[in-house]
């Protein structure tokens, strides 16, 4: 191997070791029996169900609103566009707990709706709101890049072939950008499944209602450290499988 390639390989090895060893440690400290035991626990199962439900609903909301948003930002030039992009990115750098407080201050009983808005705080709906808030920027960012990478002439071709803007969006832009949209969706779903701080602040932690897996893990730290690690391992495995399968689906998009 030439020296430069060796250098690159060293960097990759260092990065991989550093990023993988801690994740591996979770599994190393979890006996298979712990895993099974943690899944046998009713409150763990409740948390898993709730996590999957709320994350998937949040993902649906994000995709529904975020996709046209990203398309608009990617394909039109207008005043304030780059301000809008920066604003959408801001939640990315918010500490999750601050995000939770921000949600509480704005959508809580003392927020813009006063006491008359939808009941979000400490409800399952609130979990969805918190997950949506912290995960949406991941999807929108990626979706915007994917739409921007679609050759604009494909969309123009669609127009000259008699398709209006809406049909062009559905039948050309979305299928062509599909791989990127899937990747963005996976990232957002992964972030939602791991969300802790904002959920706790905004929605609290109540078994079966607002206690998602990360909150359940946290609650177990004090009393059931092994159980907490086992539940973490389950979460990592689910998230990893998710990332990998989406990557596969994306690769098949054009096969």
């Amino acid at each position: 191997m030439r020296p430069f390639t060796a250098l690159l390989a060293v960097a990759l090895t260092v990065a991989l070791l550093f990023l993988v060893i801690p994740v591996a440690a979770i599994f190393a400290n979890t006996a298979p029996s712990d895993l099974i035991h943690s899944l046998g626990d009713a409150s763990a199962r409740d948390a898993l169900r709730l996590s999957l439900e709320t994350s998937l609903i949040a993902l649906a909301v994000i995709v529904l609103v975020g996709t046209p948003t990203a398309y608009l930002l990617a394909t039109r030039r207008f005043r304030g566009r780059s301000v809008a992009i920066t604003l959408i990115e801001l939640p990315l750098v918010l500490p999750p707990a601050v995000a939770g407080i921000a949600l509480l201050a704005s959508l809580g009983p003392q927020g813009i709706f006063g006491g008359h808005g939808p009941q979000l705080v400490l409800t399952t709906a609130g979990v969805v709101v918190a997950l949506t808030f912290v995960s949406a920027p991941f999807y929108i960012r990626q979706a915007q890049e994917s739409f921007a990478a679609v050759d604009p002439r494909l969309m123009e071709a669609s127009r000259t072939l008699g398709a209006g803007e809406a049909r062009t969006f559905w039948q050309v832009a979305v299928p062509v950008a599909r791989a990127g949209l899937l990747a963005g969706g996976a990232l957002a779903l992964g972030r939602a499944l791991g969300e802790f701080g904002a959920t706790l602040m905004f929605a609290g932690s109540f078994r079966g209602v607002t206690q998602t897996v990360p909150l359940a893990i946290y609650e177990r730290f004090a009393t059931d450290f092994t159980g907490a690690l086992a539940l973490s391992a389950v979460l990592v495995a689910i998230s990893g499988a998710l990332l990998a399968s989406v990557k596969l689906a994306g690769r098949r998009a054009f096969a």
Partner: protein, 218 residues
């Protein structure tokens, strides 16, 4: 010398104001007691561990991670409500529509709270438990929910209400139900400053900084 050594102290969040006044030069990490205990179990080695109960230090002692714990202060569990709240008795918490936050059963404040509720009649107890909307992993979460109006009331320590500077009002619990809230501290095994650490723990009971913050003597 050893006297000047800066200690690293992991302490319950509710001790923040008292401890910073007690020995300003030491390094404190304030968080939920259970979180700090989990850290020590996972290998973290502060010099001193001060918890909002006696159970966590006792468990660590049993696990051989800390020296024998010492009870150094008492606190009082109270109901925290907003200053303009109409709730002024434990019984009000059973009314329909009242929202309550409490610590989760695994954290000290949560187990004290459940102890209190255990002393009530089953009807009121179930009504109150039915109004619980969140089991917070630490006191800060309960305080945050009440100050923000997310819930109508929460169970916290009197010291937390005092620290909230008027944003919260304390409603005292009926004395017979009031739990024994004892804080225990222990020197963590393997500390590099065992002398200073022991001095720190030994000096705690009766320190004026603690009583100023509203803690009782053991």
């Amino acid at each position: 010398g050893a006297n000047d050594a800066h200690l690293t102290v992991s302490a319950a969040a509710s001790l923040k104001q008292a401890f910073t006044a007690y020995q300003a030069n030491d390094r404190y990490s304030f968080a939920g007691s259970d979180q700090l205990a989990a850290q020590i179990r996972a290998g973290a080695r502060p010099d001193v561990f001060a918890a909002a109960n006696t159970k966590l230090p006792d468990d660590l002692y049993a696990a051989g991670l800390v020296e024998k714990p010492k009870v150094f202060a008492t606190n009082r569990l109270v109901m925290a409500v907003q200053p303009d709240s109409k709730i002024d008795a434990l019984g009000d918490l059973g009314r329909p529509g009242v929202k309550i936050a409490m610590g989760s059963p695994d954290v000290p404040v949560g187990s004290y709270t459940r102890q209190v509720l255990g002393g009530l009649g089953p009807k009121l107890r179930e009504a109150i438990m039915g109004n619980v909307r969140s089991n917070e992993p630490d006191v800060a979460g309960v305080v945050g929910k009440v100050t923000q109006g997310a819930v109508d009331a929460g169970f916290v320590y009197i010291t937390d209400v005092r620290a909230a500077n008027g944003r919260l009002k304390a409603v005292e619990l009926p004395p017979p139900l009031e739990p024994q809230v004892a804080y225990a501290a222990a020197v963590v095994k393997g500390t590099k400053h065992p002398e200073a650490a022991r001095r720190f723990v030994d000096g705690l009971p009766g320190a004026s900084a603690l009583s100023d913050a509203g803690f009782g003597r053991p």
